[in-house]
Symmetry: C2
Subunit: 561 residues, 2 copies
């Protein structure tokens, strides 16, 4: 393959010189919406053209393949990116938290500066509307700035100090201190449905970089141009902050090939992934089979039950039905937290909800889905669930006029049928939902207990009227989901300190973690204890006098003194 | 199998009536050192005789099988213990932290009350001396009381509150709160080398019970009587505190049979294990292959490098050699943190160290090992490493006069030979150590970088003289070990807040965790977020006004208000 040194060129210049790849393919500068796209990967600071199969993102509205062409990287590219990441690890993790905070802020600033290009290119590659993508840019830079704040606050270092007790009998107690250290280079897999906030500079990358881990991203093939633009913003920040080039690389390839090679590389120490169950489980297996296994944080599959309690249905059944379809069809239903299941006791309230929801679904004009492949998967999943003998189709919206056409769909089934067949829990990634009509509240509980792990569980309850049922629901939902929300819809995921975007298997591969919110940094850290280490040798944050002014647990008590 | 209701009988009565097992075996009350031993398991509150193969602990001094006979439990026993644990989970986790703290303290009190019997029986089953076992009883009750304190302090609940911002544009922010919830029933595997502190009521059980998880223990076959006595102390506390019986069960069986059946049971949600690499990896694989995988915290294998820096060797080489052998031979070398590797630059200082160490090893009288099987494994591991063409035997101590005879052994090899052959990293579980003579400090670093993950790494450094080398060592050791200690020996593991008894693979299967110290509770918890949940329905600790007075992260800031 042909490598070309990346020179940290001014983004406004918008031009890359190109070369010829080893395989003889001409890397022409294509006439695309953004002349800064080169079709190359970032292996550290180098711009590298892959010499594997050609891959292009596709406009899901037209089905047209987009310029420029990219090419899959190979094992040599993975090796080089991992070698650079390993080389960068020690100096990068040794940077003080303030320096990493400024680095994250600079990435955010660089992304802010190309918001217009990003929104345009991401719209072309995803079919998502401008307002949504503008919001997603803000979410992405907001996450980077959140972790800058986390770094400065300092609790992420988890400092603990147990002071020496030299006079203790029968044995003196040594001085023991603890802090969190980063795991090492992290592999991140971009998601199809958030070309910005869960991709190249998304939450996984932001939290891993904050932790002190270099990152090697595998771009999602659905938005290669967006990925390249964001990678440029990061590489620019790496260079401007004088950090080692291996802190960040961006590779192009497929999951079973380059992706699995990346996860198997001995220098990679953790994996962040958002995508399909099959893709996630394949990476989990590769990671477990390594001579030295590593943690995989894969967010995979969730159908996000919504429980409608009788009081809420009686008070506002129709209103809830309409609002529900608003959440269901948002972003063509392509959210990990899309409400794919509604559970309620049958009766007038549920009938009113169902009628309103069916009206709204029937009136829905459809939407462009992210890729033709996702549209095909949606088609087959809805046919599978909708074709089940116990399932009734209540309403179907119009299909969008697009190559990747999506339509809303509302199905219904009774509780006993649902609990009898786990296939009815199949995720229909898109704007489809299944209403489960239960005979009584005990059946509602049975349905919920039969569910696989979920990212979210939603309850609509009328204050006072539904408190008894809500209280019975809570422990069941706590075992099932990472987030429980009342009287709202699950599709908004706030980026904050208390958020949990995670949940029991198969919602994620590790229910102990969240991929959104400040706690996400903990995924890439592990504790180390230091016993009687002289103050001159101790890591700075552990030294006497608390030089970084962080919260510490001293002899079991939290203090900032 | 025959079940017999356990009646919470006064421990001082010391007698159990017996019945006949389904298989026709007479469950006679054996004349053993402790008449309270029945040879039965605890399936919840029931005393159950297994109907599988007979198994007895063995006095490692004499090789004599001990009364009473136990019998392996079967799949039915696992099923019943897990069903009871699952049934107990909801009511148990709903108990307030103060009640669980009292429960842990009552277990500790019950164990205190039978210290003499425990020390006697554990001595018979392990060959460990009385003073060590008396200390281990104290360590065990101390751990239980530590977690009572952790429960009362409250930070383990990880409370976070992000307050609602109803006027935020473009969208209001909901009220989001977070706490940690327990994973569910936990399987614990008793360790051979700590019949008390890492077994039935050891750190795994104490931290899981503190977290709100019922526990099903598989007793280690080396100390079945000790296990039964401790199980009685726990079951007594369960009954006295009015907790559901399924909070605790004790099963008997082998690892590949009953042990793997237990880990595969769908109701088990996490595993704590201390033992061999083979045993731990087998459980990790079973857990990963479940339809719903679960975390396994397996502490497996560590050779605990000790680095001797030139200044320290010059100042006190001989003294260090003698002290090193004290640590090496403690408890017949049967500690996970036993110093099995010494790394230093060759020269006069190392020669003095080596001479003193060889003298001390040569003068060692040997010690009884824990079991005849462990003695055989020690024999074969030392033959394998000692027989390596590049390895020299420096000294060999006398063998103990015992069925499970152990002897001290000191080997040496040069740095290049060591790094060329990973087989030289084989753990020799017992009082054997390998001195690695390096040509220079760079070779010391190469040796350390070549090591698998370790529980500990020790540095002997002369303040001032060795600071530069020590500072270069630190980042290398941080990647290798869970605990770094200076100018001491790794065999003491303090139970405190800052301790890390864990480390990168294969020291443990999950470097993000510690099995000793207050942080051990985190292994059995996961975060859940609560969005706009009404105050009347919210878990108590999350309610307005901070009713439990715990530290909370409110809008990112730690506060107890």
């Amino acid at each position: 393959m042909q490598r070309q040194c990346w020179t940290g060129i001014d983004p406004s210049l918008g031009l890359w010189t190109t070369g010829k790849s080893r395989s003889g393919k001409e890397n022409t500068l294509s006439t695309t919406t953004d002349a800064r796209l080169s079709g190359r990967m970032f292996v550290g600071a180098e711009r590298v053209a892959g010499d594997g199969p050609e891959v292009r993102s596709v406009d899901p509205r037209t089905g047209q393949a987009l310029d420029p062409a990219y090419h899959h990287g190979g094992a040599g590219d993975v090796d080089r990116a991992c070698a650079l990441a390993e080389e960068a690890f020690e100096p990068y993790r040794a940077t003080d938290p303030e320096r990493r905070a400024r680095f994250l802020e600079r990435i955010a600033g660089n992304i802010d500066a190309i918001t217009a290009e990003l929104v345009e290119r991401a719209g072309l590659e995803s079919g998502l509307p401008e307002a949504r993508l503008t919001g997603e840019v803000g979410r992405t830079t907001g996450q980077l700035r959140l972790f800058a704040g986390v770094l400065r606050e300092g609790s992420w270092q988890g400092v603990r100090v147990d002071t020496a007790l030299p006079d203790r009998t029968p044995l003196p107690r040594p001085d023991i201190r603890q802090r969190m250290v980063p795991l090492g280079p992290v592999a991140v897999f971009g998601a199809s449905n958030f070309p910005l906030a869960f991709s190249v500079a998304g939450g996984d990358t932001a939290s891993a970089l904050a932790a002190g881990c270099p990152v090697v991203v595998k771009a999602h093939n659905a938005h290669l141009g967006t990925s390249e633009l964001v990678a440029g913003a990061i590489a620019d920040a790496v260079a401007a902050e004088g950090l080692p080039q291996g802190v960040f690389s961006l590779l192009v390839g497929d999951g079973p090939g380059l992706g699995q090679t990346l996860v198997a590389d001995p220098r990679i120490q953790a994996v962040g992934f958002t995508g399909s169950r099959g893709g996630g489980l394949a990476l989990v297996e590769v990671a477990a089979r390594r001579p030295r296994p590593i943690p995989v944080y894969a967010e995979m599959s969730s159908i996000n039950p919504v429980v409608l309690l009788p009081g809420a249905l009686a008070a506002r059944g129709r209103e809830l039905g309409a609002a529900f379809v608003g959440s269901l069809t948002l972003g063509a239903g392509q959210f990990c937290t899309n409400p794919g299941l509604v559970v309620a006791v049958e009766g007038e309230g549920l009938d009113a909800f169902t009628a309103a929801a069916a009206d709204a679904v029937g009136a829905d004009a459809g939407a462009t889905m992210l890729t033709p492949g996702i549209a095909r998967s949606y088609q087959s999943a809805t046919e599978e669930v909708g074709g089940h003998s116990g399932v009734t189709e209540l309403a179907r919206g119009a299909a969008a006029e697009a190559a990747a056409a999506g339509h809303a769909l509302l199905l219904a089934v009774d509780g006993a049928t649902f609990t009898a067949d786990p296939a009815l829990q199949t995720e229909m990634f898109g704007a489809a939902s299944l209403i489960i009509r239960c005979r009584d509240f005990d059946e509602v509980l049975r349905v919920l207990r039969s569910l696989e792990g979920q990212l979210t569980a939603t309850v609509h309850a009328e204050p006072g009227a539904d408190d008894a049922e809500a209280t019975r629901l809570l422990p069941v939902l706590e075992r099932t989901a990472g987030r429980i929300l009342f009287n709202g819809w699950p599709t908004g995921v706030e980026v904050c300190h208390a958020m949990v975007h995670g949940g029991p298997f198969p919602a994620t591969s590790d229910a102990r973690a969240t991929s959104v919110g400040s706690r996400a940094i903990e995924r890439f850290l592990r504790p180390v204890a230091y016993q009687n280490v002289p103050d001159a040798v101790r890591p700075h944050v552990l030294r006497d006098g608390n030089p970084q002014g962080v919260w510490r647990r001293v002899d079991g008590e939290l203090t900032r003194d």
